[in-house]
Symmetry: C2
Subunit: 218 residues, 2 copies
DNA sequence: TCGTTTTCTGACCGTATGGTCAAGGTTGAG
DNA sequence: CTCAACCTTGACCATACGGTCAGAAAACGA
């Protein structure tokens, strides 16, 4: 209860409002698209007057950029699960787990990202050409090393990555379709686990991923 | 050169204009989203005055509905390749071929469909609940029969279908990202073939699909 | 307490959009 | 040729949107 770390009320309010706005914006951009989203709708959902949004974010595009950048951060963080794995079973398995978890917990963010890329990545083209390309090249190298080490079949690493992205993100981006085909109900915890297991199993078996067996190592 | 099948000029012009409008609309809706698309932009791309669009399609929404319905037709047609296949190798293989071909030849349509579903399917919810659900249930039955006949591993057919949709449509919907990671160039014919083969191989192997061997049949 | 900085907000503005309309042009059957 | 049905289009309209702004309110340092 002491005064340690007490934030000034100004900073506290600023953070809280920015959070409210960004969460509302993420949802509205995801559900209506950039063109269909209106500042008024975002303001209403955040519980703030529209003019207040423009106080924190000068323009609609700036707000959108901030939303997309935050999503990219989450994406990058999940990508770390790929690293430092001894083989494809651990690395790709953990990556699928992480990306399925993102689809489940951040469906709006995933949709905003998908929408952005589908429309030609007008605001994050530079991310694609720098950070994403570097990350991709690095992971391609890792996969190739696993292939060379005989830990999996020789599969084009690039297309394998695309498959991983596609299958995991599908559960967020096409969640509405999946929900409809599920009788109108969202997937429950067990169904999410089943989806994750099925995806992991098909892909790991499909690439002929082999467990590392230390007893066979020289 | 005879007059057989000569269309009256009126009908001819009507068809041509509707085609021009629908093609332009598909592209604009795909690139800008429903909210971002404007009738003026579509009109310019079709080479017609805006008022003329409203003569053929009363409202923006009606034009959009028509575009989406056309895409669904293509989708359904490709789905036929699943049928009458003796086993998963032929059925799923042909389906992947067909869907990859759609992604390649109709990227705009695929994006419009994806966008529509991502936004909660406001105009095609009835399709999802009727035609798509029936088609899906039928295919789930076919897959289950293959499993029962020992032609593939016991895999949840539902998630397998989602994987097929996700991986194939990804090449259209996320084509811009793939292009960027491909050094800024669209996939050439060889790369498309490589993608198709990789997807087919990983999935068919992943589900343990076995060729039918007539010599082993009773 | 006082003055300054930051935050908040209703009212307002210019513009772009979906849609309308009336008048003129074109086509084709009788 | 005639006339009705159909097609085309520039000009127009109401609305909704992103963005602005002046002034009130709150927070803060001294």
């Amino acid at each position: 209860m002491s005064g340690n770390q007490r934030q000034s009320k100004r900073i506290q309010t600023r953070r809280e409002n920015e959070r409210l706005i960004l969460e509302a914006a993420e949802k509205v951009f995801a559900e209506a698209g950039y063109g269909g989203a209106t500042m008024q709708l975002i303001a209403d959902m955040a519980g703030l007057p529209k003019a207040n949004l423009h106080y924190y974010f000068a323009t609609k595009e700036e707000l959108y950029r901030t939303v997309v950048a935050r999503i990219f951060e989450i994406w990058l963080h999940a990508a770390e699960s790929f690293d430092n794995a001894p083989g494809p079973v651990e690395g790709i398995g953990a990556y699928i787990d992480a990306k399925m978890e993102i689809s489940r917990r951040h469906p709006f963010g995933s949709k905003v990202w998908a929408s952005e890329v589908m429309h030609g990545a007008p605001v994050i083209q530079d991310y694609l050409e720098t950070t994403l390309r570097e990350w991709t090249d690095g992971r391609i190298g890792a996969i190739q090393r696993w292939i060379d080490d005989g830990l999996m079949d020789p599969v084009d690493p690039r297309h394998l990555l695309y498959m991983l992205w596609a299958t995991t993100q599908h559960y967020a981006d096409f969640g509405h379709q999946i929900e409809t085909l599920n009788g109108g109900a969202a997937l429950d915890a067990g169904q999410w686990a089943g989806a994750t297991e099925t995806v992991k199993r098909i892909i790991l078996r499909g690439i002929g991923a082999r467990e590392i067996r230390p007893d066979l190592a020289k």
